[in-house]
């Protein structure tokens, strides 16, 4: 019954515009940040970081990126895996070529390179729309993976065809390579996620976000009221690919440590991230987090339950995972096309009125 706006008067448009208009939400947000930065790092171990936190944070970045493109700007992409590969391989080449430069810059530049590649593959979106575009992005997916597999320059002619992350550190703390400590892995992913989520929020609440949503909701009308479709779509592809590229770079350098394009960044990855935003909620920052958390946790729980507790073969657990995820996608699209984020919003709306709903 403390969860409401009443009494929390907004006296300026700035206050009215804030991300969390309700006091309790604001408190919750700061507490979550505090716990994430100042409590969890002292308790995490390798298992938690490797199976939950690192993939969650990294996929959340990728999901934010795809959500900008698909959820906000309405351009469906099935090329996420390919773009993550661009980020990973760009980061690898940079790490090897400029060992003295901080890895933070490598990751950011890798994001920038991915943005450029994303724009190149996004250009057809000016002519083709909807699922035509979705199929066209498959071209990016298959071509990029092939490129990184076949052109030896990208993996520095290593015999295995793999790329391996050399050891690099930030502020004296090792963050890549086999000697990385759990908390360091955790922190670097968290910092990237928090900063990028903040950027995503800023972009989507302002005029850029409105242009994207205008293109999504009614592209012709948007153009007639003054949205330049070229700029709007290309900026969506650029920003989205930047996020996805950063996610790919972190996925390879910090999380996996070694990667091979076809295996780590295949079309399954594209689906996985797409499913995150469908289940989490298209066009929602919170939804990107919720979807990533769900898709990371679900297999872990399923595996623990079926394989760990019941002793079933992993094969069956994996097949059931496909069935559950596929089924959930269909169920969500039927029952709640706006995903977990909408369920959360509805709960909050109920809570706001509780205990007197009338």
């Amino acid at each position: 019954m403390f969860y409401r706006e009443a009494g929390d008067f907004k006296t300026s448009y700035r206050d009215d515009n804030q991300t969390f208009p309700i006091r309790l939400d604001r408190a919750g947000y700061w507490i979550a940040l505090f716990v994430a930065f100042c409590v969890i790092p002292f308790f995490v171990n390798d298992y938690w970081v490797n199976s939950i936190f690192a993939p969650f944070f990294i996929y959340a970045i990728a999901a934010l990126g795809l959500n900008i493109l698909t959820g906000y700007a309405g351009q469906v992409s099935l090329g996420t895996g390919g773009f993550m590969a661009v980020g990973a391989y760009a980061c690898y080449k940079l790490m090897v070529a400029f060992p003295d430069v901080s890895i933070v810059f490598h990751v950011l530049i890798a994001g920038g390179i991915t943005a450029a590649v994303g724009v190149a593959f996004g250009l057809p979106s000016l002519r083709i729309k909807g699922f035509y575009l979705a199929v066209a992005t498959l071209a990016a997916q298959f071509f990029l993976v092939w490129l990184f597999n076949k052109v030896a320059w990208f993996y520095n002619y290593s015999a295995s065809g793999q790329i391996n992350a050399p050891e690099r550190s930030v502020l004296g703390v090792v963050v890549t390579g086999p000697n990385t400590e759990a908390w360091a892995k955790y922190m670097i992913c968290l910092v990237f996620l928090v900063v990028l989520a903040w950027v995503a929020r800023n972009l989507t609440r302002g005029m850029t976000g409105r242009k994207w949503m205008g293109i999504r909701d009614m592209d012709i009308a948007a153009e007639i009221i003054g949205v330049n479709p070229l700029m709007a779509k290309m900026s969506a592809f650029a920003v989205s690919s930047f996020f996805v590229g950063v996610a790919g770079a972190l996925f390879f350098a910090v999380y996996l440590g070694a990667a091979e394009a076809g295996e780590s960044f295949g079309i399954t990855k594209s689906f996985l991230v797409l499913f995150m935003i469908i289940i989490g909620g298209l066009g929602s920052i919170f939804g990107s987090f919720a979807g990533a958390a769900f898709m990371v946790l679900m297999p872990v729980i399923l595996k623990n339950l079926l394989v760990g507790t019941l002793g079933w073969p992993t094969e069956i657990a994996a097949e059931l995972e496909f069935i559950i995820v596929g089924g959930l996608i269909v169920i969500f699209l039927i029952l709640e096309p706006h995903g977990l984020a909408q369920l959360w919003r509805l709960t909050k709306e109920k809570l706001r009125l509780w205990p007197f709903p009338h």
């Binding site: 909807g130 699922f131 071209a139 076949k150 079309i267 094969e315 994996a318």
Partner: protein, 328 residues
């Protein structure tokens, strides 16, 4: 005649045959897209599922044996009988009708009126669902499919071409059968849609949903019908592909190549699907033959998609698609 040219001719012929297979999968897409406006991403998975069911029934496998064994600790796997091919095909066909009915009743019915892109994503969900369901039902090993189709090199073509050019073309008998079956299938479909009552209803629905409803055509029936036909086409495609390279789940990814075929041919055109399939089949073989060795090979992985992408930039509606007119 120079040797390179002969090789190229052989590659072209084989490409045409591969193209027929793409066209078969694409055909299922076109049928569904025309009748319901749904872009069925899961068509490739239907192909795999149909083929798996066929083999499973034929060899007398117990469905979900692996799961049952895990839960109850049993060790069952086969019924211990084999089913004659023709009956197995009928059973598999019936299974596809059942799948069509389930999809219509439990998915499409609830998504009526949603934007196309939502329906598209729902079919991706179906793809994923079946990706788990098919191996759960029939196991994840590669299944050998044999329905008694001729296989191996066609001796006649080999000797004839040898007599002409001094070089025998290697053409698989199975490819020839596939081409003939595809031709028969398309003819049957065209006859069906031109000369039967259901066929006319189907074309009416394809033209305008509401208008079709208003003259008393049952949309539900048509949708089940068209998904069943698509399932049947998938079964035929599954038999051809499966006979060639065995049945396994990764076949679905190859079948995704039907998508660029469609983009090339136009989503609403049956001739488009066929010609698109042939262009892509020949194109990717020739490209791999001519350029592949220079860039590391395996260009078939992306050639079809990139070709379709480049083509679409210049002609967004595809070769035979209807022109898209934008209005305010």
């Amino acid at each position: 005649m120079p040797e390179q040219l002969l090789f190229a001719m052989e590659v072209t012929l084989n490409g045409l045959m591969a193209g027929v297979l793409y066209a078969l999968v694409a055909l299922g897409f076109v049928l569904i897209f025309k009748a319901s406006g749904i872009f069925n991403f899961a068509q490739g998975m239907l192909v795999v599922f149909a083929a798996m069911t066929l083999v499973g029934v034929q060899t007398g496998q117990i469905p979900f044996a692996h799961l049952i064994n895990t839960i109850f600790g049993t060790k069952i796997h086969h019924f211990g009988w084999t089913v004659p091919t023709i009956i197995a095909i009928i059973v598999a066909g019936a299974a596809m009708v059942l799948v069509a009915w389930i999809i219509e009743k439990y998915i499409l019915q609830h998504l009526i009126g949603q934007p196309d892109i939502i329906l598209f994503m729902a079919t991706i969900g179906m793809w994923y669902f079946m990706h788990g369901f098919a191996p759960l039902m029939w196991g994840s090993e590669v299944m050998k499919l044999d329905v008694g189709l001729a296989q191996g090199i066609n001796e006649t073509i080999d000797t004839t071409t040898y007599g002409w050019f001094g070089y025998g073309f290697f053409i698989d008998n199975l490819d020839i059968v596939a081409a003939i079956v595809a031709a028969l299938l398309v003819t049957a479909l065209v006859l069906f849609s031109q000369y039967t009552k259901q066929g006319r209803a189907l074309r009416a629905v394809a033209d305008d949903h509401s208008a079709a409803l208003s003259v008393g055509i049952s949309l539900r029936f048509i949708w089940v019908l068209v998904w069943s036909i698509a399932g049947f086409v998938a079964l035929v495609a599954g038999i051809m592909w499966g006979s060639k390279s065995g049945v396994q789940i990764s076949l679905a990814e190859v079948a995704l190549k039907a998508l660029p075929v469609l983009m090339l041919g136009g989503f609403t055109s049956i001739p488009g699907a066929i010609i698109g399939g042939l262009i892509i089949g020949v194109g990717e073989q020739l490209f791999e033959f001519a350029i592949g060795p220079l860039v590391g090979g395996a260009t078939q992985a992306w050639f079809a998609y990139v070709l379709a992408l480049v083509f679409l930039i210049f002609r967004p509606q595809g070769l035979f698609g209807e022109k898209i007119i934008e209005r305010v």
